[in-house]
Amino acid sequence: MSITEDDIPLLRVSSLSKSYGARVGCQDVSFELWPGEVLAVVGESGSGKTTLLNCLSTRLMPTSGTVSYRMRDGDWRDLYRMSEAERRFLMRTDWGFVHQNPADGLRMTVSAGANVGERLMAVGDRHYGRIRETATDWLGRVEIAEDRVDDEPRAFSGGMRQRLQIARNLVTAPRLVFMDEPTGGLDVSVQARLLDLLRGLVTDLGLAAIVVTHDLAVARLLSHRIMVMKEGHVVEAGLTDRVLDDPHAPYTQLLVSSILQV
């Protein structure tokens, strides 16, 4: 069997550490992410999940360690050695970032259509009719009615805003999406619907994703692999079902047993 694209990792992280002065954000994290794979990072708040995500997505500079990314042309690039212009271009074309609070990821004062179209215009699309058509199509794919295309996100419910944010990120067909608590702040039925949608999109588009969450149910539904963090360290990593059904580390056992049963 020959080696195909999917047999080569997309992202290589080696001994990544970030400290805030004397305090540890995350310490010595290493892993690889393959195309189409969803990795969940779980742990209690303050465990360094978000620091890790921000370092990976180049929103934060790590104290030490490297992250390399395989570009579309097959070249491996060290993310922290790229120029700011290259990094920003990567972030708005090949990557997506879904914030916990949709207001952080959306332009609240421009219409839903313009929110989705912004990335297209940023990469040079100058045809209004095509931009609008693509935006409308994407609204449909995230289950937002077409006649809401000219409404501002301020007029949307929390769940709709989150779905709009997802559409805005996916419109340039990225290969890697970072998500920071994508279902935080949503009620359970909306959460379920969003998870269902996300799972469908990730499978259909063959997206790789790194999802930070404190909700083990989200990790179970979305992810193939899971990484458990505590006090900045990775205490356990493995296939999601294995980690959740047969946790080895004492902390993971504690975490799994603290899920409330209804």
Binding site: E84, A85, R88, R107, V110, S111, G113, A114, G117, E118, R119, M121, A122, V123, R126, H127, Y128, G129, I131, R132, V149, D150
Partner: protein
Amino acid sequence: MNAPVESIATYNFAYLDEQTKRMIRRAILKAIAIPGYQVPFASREMPMPYGWGTGGVQVTASIIGPDDVLKVIDQGADDTTNAVSIRAFFQKVANVAVTTQTPKATIIQTRHRIPEHPLAEGQTLVYQVPIPEPLRFLEPRETETRLMHALEEYGLMHVKLYEDIATNGHIATTYAYPVKVKGRYVMDPSPTPKFDNPKMHMSPALQLFGAGREKRIYAVPPYTDVISLDFEDHPFEVQAFDKPCALCGAENVYLDEVVLDDRGGRMFVCSDTDFCERRREAGHGGEMGAPVEGEIG
């Protein structure tokens, strides 16, 4: 304001001290070297409120010499408060010749219009700019807009035009219409009507922009590309008027609406008053105004 000239004899020529003029001239030179780039400068307090053209006045004061002939317009008119007081200011502090005639002026300070009479080489147009940053209302962070200019990330400007079309069916921005200068920097042409945007393109005159409150100077050197942004399927176009000027009958000029009474009476006249008067002197007339004999202004 009406003190005799002797009492201000202690002021330096053109009000500003020489060190300040030097600082502003350096900013202007840098701005000319990088067309469309906003150069920060240490804006001074001027004897007029912000919003009255303190930026334009500082630029004019820095470039004016005793032999210059100054014209000042406000929305195209030579005889409105802003134009009259700035003109009087420079007459008093620089004792320069002033004119209302576009071809005779060497420096034209303007608030929001480019004269209808084509500008020539050797003339300088000084714009008074309230908000120099074209991305400001889309991105409030100055740090971010500077980075966007540096990295040439101008997708956001089209988001604004997209919103216009989505809301109104066409690009409804009629003034401060964003332009790209020499294929690089996106620039706010100050709140001139978009009617004047094509006049900026390849203009033989030097165009300087001063924003006093925002402390920025930018420039378009003579014969520089100034392209208005648009979409392929919604190209840039200027305003069109149904009727010619009611006084001088001019067509393809920018018109102001003047309300005549409280029963719906109105007329449309040239916004450039000097242009209108010269035409009437030359024997042109409109539906509400006859040609005139001799000089008006």
